[in-house]
Subunit: 398 residues, 2 copies
């Protein structure tokens, strides 16, 4: 029987045994890249913008030609031509010349600024400029946004709309991402059924809940379904999943006997590293490896399985996907005292009230509905007697 | 020429013309429901749990039989039987009786509490109970988590892992969700190319950026691609998209002439409600309807198109999907003064530093890379001279 470990030691142990595991890389079309994880640092292959361009409708000028211009004494410039959108101007500006240009147009040679059309007038083919501009004014220079060669996105970045914008600006239409690690989910329990429970039977929750969490964390869920609490059946399910998946979650075995059975099976097929974490909920958690793949035994209570996934399994996925740590959602103060003196780090669902206070939602173990009406959760460190009303807490995303 | 409207008036106008639009409902398998939007209030058809069950391994008891029990004087109970997991006990407890039971087991008739196995001993078939329990102790009663008939999830709820947990607990394996509204995206501009830009040409960013934003907001993007700034081509593209989509975004037309062209086309095909919003960036925004469908003209600058989507188009999607408003990510204080006296509500990308200060990321219009390195954005109201260092700001998610 292995000792119960602290949450920190549990995470460290999981990472020690999984950090060398790497998922493969694949390329996906940019329009399908949202939610995927970038597999390598991305260097810009080109400047963005690729040429000096105006940010206004008006005239491209050599700024020095406008110095001293004002409402009373406009600068008088000769219109040397007009810049067509999407084309390179086939002329240069000489002293005293300007060129008509629209927003986004490419500056001709010799121009270093632009004046807004509102500050100009046209007098028999001459352009009158009523306001001076500084060099660079109303212009975005080549590479101002992204310089060729610079690293614009880091490996491990979760790709969202902002990243899609950057990728398209650089012409990266096939995006190198990590293959989604396949995580199998087995639920165990003689009482579990998928449909039409008779008296004493319950519907499997963890299979679905964990599958959704896996996909949110960037993995692909292999939903195995429920198996009865029999050693041979669980062993067969585990072997089957080890063939097909990169990691396996076995949830359930809420009774001590079943947990010991799972430990026994894992011990036979591989190695068990810990059995029990000082967290609440989530204590009866098992971690080991078999066939070089991580296997997590999760509690049967949905709320406990939820927190073990968020705080332990998610760290494994984060590591192999090289993703950054979660940031807390927001800070708040506690609305009430929360005692906690059982020597385990505790997780508590909270609601945020209109005074930005975190209101703990106390629940019995095994309750699932609290998850869907909470705004987030807080942590209570294990080395405290709890937290007092008014204490500053960080709200983490559920 | 229509007047420039405030951001609030723009949102109100969009909602006035779109709030009666409803998307159809469809059913999706629970394992594919993540990210979708619930189409109706969901009432529980059954109690969860469906029976009184224990939360510990030990013995089901009638609590009154344990009153007064202690370490020195244990209660002595007769073991009437053993509850098998997943089965309804075929016996009742009479006075002085108990039943062996595992976590999650169904209480037999006559039991109203459970004692942990650690607080018991076995003496020649008698169960010795060393601690008294109160009625209901170590028991989850039928309906404690979810009572049959109660509304557990509201229409408009974005379905994530917590909701998947609740749905599976209730046996809702086919989930009623709104069909994703199809939003077409047209980019306009003679300078736009999809690949290998020559001098003066630029890659289309908005087509991809807006498609990713549409999907994040719960819609399905119809990526139309870029069309040249010619009235007939834009009109043809718009008509084509109006056939296929629920709404159309036309981005680009960064020059005043093209914007007027888009207004003209929309005016011919339907009605224009405003042309210009007092927001920065994002001023040159157009809204109208054609064939009973909303059409948004968005700025060509990616950053401006981004904020117009987040603050205007997203409100339309939120309304037809009955989704709740975004909550700010977190509160912070400004790291520096931010002047803003141009009479437009302003949006500024910020980073959060280690002192939880919001550090503004100043950028030129048209720049896209700032989006991917910011932690969020702040709003500066239009009726201020800006915000001072130390001001409280709410950080919104990008």
């Amino acid at each position: 029987m292995l000792h119960v470990v602290s949450k920190e030691d549990a995470v460290a142990c999981v990472l020690r045994h999984t950090r060398e595991m790497r998922t493969q890389t694949e390329k996906v079309p940019i329009l399908r890249a949202s939610g995927r994880t970038l597999a390598c640092d991305l260097q810009a292959a080109e400047d963005v913008p690729a040429f000096d361009r105006t940010t206004v409708d008006g005239y491209a000028v050599h700024a020095a030609d406008t110095f001293g211009a004002g409402a009373a004494i406009p600068a008088q410039l000769t219109v040397a031509g007009s810049v067509a959108m999407g084309e390179e101007p086939q002329f240069s500006l000489h002293a005293g010349e300007c060129a008509a240009i629209s927003t986004g147009g490419m500056l001709p040679q010799g121009a270093d600024a632009a004046v807004m059309i509102e500050h100009t007038d046209n007098d028999h083919g001459l352009c009158l400029v009523y306001r001076s501009v500084a060099p660079g004014e109303n212009v975005t220079r080549r590479g101002d946004d992204i310089a060729a060669g610079s690293t614009v996105l880091r490996a491990g970045t979760r790709i969202g709309a902002p990243q899609i914008g950057v990728l398209s600006a650089l012409g990266v239409y096939e995006v190198p991402v990590f293959r989604r690690p396949v995580i199998a989910v087995i639920s165990t329990g003689d009482e579990l059924v998928q449909k039409d429970p008779a008296a004493g039977q319950v519907r499997d929750v963890n299979g679905y809940l964990l599958s959704a969490l896996i996909e949110r964390a960037g993995g692909e869920a292999l939903f195995y379904g429920a198996v009865a609490d029999e050693r041979q059946r669980i062993a067969d399910a585990l072997k089957d999943c080890l063939e097909k998946a990169d990691a396996v979650l076995i949830s359930g075995g809420s009774s001590a006997g079943t947990r010991d059975m799972t430990v026994g099976i894992l011990d036979e097929l591989g190695e068990v590293f810990f059995h029990g974490i000082a967290m609440k909920p989530g204590k009866p958690t098992i971690f080991g490896t078999a066939q070089g793949k991580p296997v997590f035994g999760l509690p049967g209570h949905p709320l406990a399985a939820y927190f073990v996934f968020r705080l332990i399994v998610a760290e494994y996925l984060r590591t192999i996907l090289q993703a950054p740590a979660d940031k807390p959602l927001r800070a708040a103060v506690l609305s009430t005292n929360v005692p906690s003196n059982h020597g385990r780090e505790e997780y508590l669902c909270v609601r945020i009230n209109e005074r930005n206070e975190a209101v703990p939602l106390h629940t019995k173990s095994g309750v699932i509905s609290v998850l869907s009406c909470a705004d987030g959760f807080i942590r209570i460190p294990r080395d405290t007697e709890g937290l007092e009303k008014g204490a500053n807490v960080e709200i983490c995303e559920l």
